[in-house]
């Protein structure tokens, strides 16, 4: 039954007109959207865009996560995962351990393996190449989505190669795409306070764009809900949108909800559910050129991830099964969801579940 939607916040009316006409939103629009208390109004606008792009389809993937090591030179304040070498809780998986994790699940219809770790100070570049090649030998058809832009830049430094040559070598070893982490918030103010030694915004965007030019798609992320302002979020989105205008290589945008527990910012609270939904909706509205908006259920919980399908989201990530980064930051979510659970969650939200591969081609489930 079609109904007209009434905003509580009339500042959203002009934005509705722009959205209906397919006009690109500007920075001021983004600030107005984040400032609005009309949560359902934001959801309504984002849903207009989402339905225009994807109809009732909602995507999920049968994937496996491998976090090969948490040893990291960066020491970002918002992170509960990273450890210095030799610290309690530091770990690194051997090549054999990594391959065993893949071998253990060969009977499952996994189409993507998602591999992310820290910026390890001493593992040689050959380790990463062998990791990719070794997994591909075990599971030739699997898509390897591996290494944030930050890891790639770090590997280039270690190997003494350009970013392009590093990506090319990784690609030849089996890399299929990049997961998009490590973007945090691009604001120099925030980075100076939270992650001064980490690869900066220009470097991050350069790695992503280089990957795109080499035919490697990437995702993009934003870690929100710590010390950034709404305007800084908007600027982050606009920088991604500009990069996408250049290369068109971003597949999905994934806002990552900050989890404070066990981090250097544990006195903070993390974003509210309202902020989570708002951020997803505004992302859908600003990023008119990135095809997919993903709610990572490990961070949001399955319930909020389901609800986000009505707030601009078209992808709920996947089965996962073993995730360390968010869980070390206190996430109470399960380690995995079954295909049946994911499909039921999508259907109950009034959407049609579509199992996808990494590049969003449909998989017969």
């Amino acid at each position: 039954m079609e109904a007209s939607f009434r905003f509580q916040d009339h500042a959203l009316e002009p934005i509705r007109e722009k959205v209906a006409a397919g006009v690109r939103l500007c920075r001021e629009d983004g600030v107005v959207l984040f400032a609005s208390a009309d949560l359902l109004g934001l959801g309504y606008l984002a849903d207009l865009v989402r339905r225009r792009r994807h109809g009732r389809r909602a995507f999920y993937i049968y994937n496996q996560h491998i976090n090969y090591s948490n040893i990291c030179v960066n020491g970002c304040k918002f992170c509960a995962f990273g450890r210095k070498a030799g610290d309690p809780g530091a770990y690194e998986m051997s090549l054999e351990e990594i391959l065993a994790r893949v071998r253990d699940r060969l009977h499952e219809p996994i189409t993507e393996i998602h591999i992310v770790g820290g910026c390890h100070p001493s593992l040689p570049f050959s380790f990463y190449l062998e990791m990719l090649a070794g997994i591909k030998r075990l599971r030739p058809r699997v898509h390897l989505q591996a290494f944030t832009c930050v890891e790639v830049a770090h590997l280039a430094d270690l190997a003494g190669l350009t970013v392009a040559d590093t990506l090319q070598a990784l690609k030849e070893a089996g890399l299929g795409s990049l997961p998009g982490g490590g973007a945090e918030v691009f604001s120099p103010r925030v980075r100076q306070a939270l992650c001064p030694t980490k690869l900066g915004p220009d470097g991050w965007l350069e790695v992503a764009k280089t990957a795109h030019r080499l035919g490697l798609n990437t995702n993009a992320t934003m870690l929100y809900g710590h010390m950034e302002t709404a305007a800084e979020r908007v600027d982050h989105l606009l920088q991604l949108r500009a990069a996408q205008d250049d290369t068109g290589g971003f597949l999905a945008f994934i806002p990552l909800a900050f989890h404070p527990q066990n981090t250097g910012l544990s006195d903070l609270r993390g974003p509210s559910a309202i902020d989570d939904l708002k951020t997803l909706a505004v992302s859908r509205l600003i990023l008119d050129n990135i095809p997919h908006i993903k709610a990572f259920w490990v961070m949001l919980g399955p319930k909020l991830a389901q609800l986000s399908l009505c707030f601009g989201v078209d992808d709920v990530d996947g089965t996962v099964m073993e995730e360390r980064i968010t869980h070390m930051a206190g996430a109470q979510t399960p380690q995995g969801l079954s295909r049946k659970q994911l499909r039921a969650l999508i259907e109950e939200a009034g959407c049609r579940p579509v199992e996808r591969d990494t590049l969003y081609a449909m998989v017969a489930a």
């Binding site: 039954m1 079609e2 109904a3 007209s4 939607f5 009434r6 509580q8 208390a37 949560l39 359902l40 959801g43 309504y44 849903d47 609270r269 509210s272 559910a273 309202i274 902020d275 989570d276 939904l277 949001l300 919980g301 399955p302 319930k303 909020l304 389901q306 609800l307 399908l309 009505c310 039921a344 969650l345 109950e348 939200a349 009034g350």
Partner: protein
């Protein structure tokens, strides 16, 4: 926009009551429109920008129960080694803990335990009252069971419990007020009519009560509406319901099994409840089953009350769903949603 939705929206805007067929069409709306309509009604009923909650605690005085409902993971049949009746020291510790939290009352509920005397119940009530705490106690199946057990007419039993200290009645045990469903999930718990009869008797004696609905198991959406309309009809006659609390069946550890309804179905049901129950003042979120995040969002889907601090919760926890929230956390969740948190008692008076 369809003429039909326009008609519905006009009726709701004019505070004009929906009939059963009209209410059935609400399920066809998209979630956000449904939420927006429910929120508009909530703003009309409660224009003050506040959300209430109560500092209380649950006390489940016994888990021994002859009802044997298939959706329940809490009860133990008589003679079971895990059956319990709280003794005085345990009870006292719980009451002192609540006093330390500056609580206003106790939500007192238990199984249908054939081993207890009427004196036990009366002493239980007066003991709790001796701590200066109100008792929101005994859901209708318990009241019915006691009336039968002690061969008293409902009104007489209620008067005795009131004399001993009962101040209001929780709306539990309603499950779904459709007898087809009750026969399947809780055949020994009594009919819809029996539940409604207890509430009517309580209201006539001046006892305020809430009403609940446990959804997401064997019932159809039409049966949920049947439930809502029965509540609305009785409320027209008595005006004794303070609040309505829909909550989602949690299958863990139950004989009935199955899957729990998700957040979207919860929010839809909450919003439909707000739109149908035009005569019940308050609508409460169920953070125990939905968690703090969805409970917070539910404040945009028609709810105006955050329920209670509980301190302990045993019935839902027995299914393996274990959310916990303290007063500070509840207040923060309410503030983040743009409302002022306000404490209340079990009769929805502000404290």
């Amino acid at each position: 926009m369809s003429p039909e939705s326009q008609h519905l929206e006009e009726k709701i805007g004019a505070a004009d009551r929906l009939n059963f067929a009209e209410a059935g069409r609400l399920w066809d709306l998209d979630l956000l429109t449904l939420g927006r309509w429910a929120d508009a009604v909530r703003q009309r009923l409660h224009p003050e920008p506040r959300v209430t909650y109560v500092v209380d605690r649950n006390i489940n005085y016994t888990n021994i129960c002859v009802s044997g409902c298939r959706f329940c993971a809490f009860y133990r049949p008589p003679g079971h080694p895990e059956g319990y009746v709280l003794d005085r020291p345990a009870l006292e510790a719980k009451l002192l803990e609540l006093k330390a939290h500056r609580g206003s009352g106790v939500l007192l509920q238990g199984g249908l335990n054939p081993g207890l005397t009427l004196t036990y119940y009366e002493e239980l009530l007066s003991y709790i009252r001796s701590f200066g705490l109100a008792v929101h106690g005994f859901s209708p199946p318990e009241i019915n069971f006691l009336a039968r057990q002690f061969s008293l007419p409902l009104a007489d039993l209620l008067r005795r419990l009131m004399a001993a200290g009962l101040s209001s009645i929780p709306g539990g045990g309603a499950e779904i007020l459709a007898d087809r469903v009750r026969r399947e999930i809780s055949p020994r718990k009594g009919s819809s009519l029996e539940w409604l009869t207890v509430m009517a008797a309580a209201h006539h004696l001046g006892l305020k009560t809430s009403a609940t609905m446990m959804f997401g198991h064997l019932e159809t959406r039409a049966e949920r509406l049947e439930h809502l309309f029965k509540i609305r009809d009785l409320q027209d006659r008595t005006g004794g319901f303070t609040a309505f609390i829909p909550w989602a069946y949690q299958p863990g550890g139950t004989a009935l099994g199955g899957e729990a309804a998700g957040a979207v179905e919860y929010l839809r049901t909450l919003a439909v409840s707000r739109l149908v129950l035009d005569n019940v003042p308050h609508l409460q979120v169920s953070w125990v089953t939905q968690g703090p995040k969805i409970a917070q969002v539910a404040l945009s889907f028609g709810a105006d009350d955050f329920g209670s601090t509980m301190l302990e919760e045993n019935v839902v926890a027995a299914t393996g769903v274990g959310f916990r929230l303290d007063r500070t956390e509840i207040e923060t969740l309410i503030r983040e949603a743009g409302y002022e948190p306000r404490g209340r008692d079990h009769r929805y008076g502000l404290v």
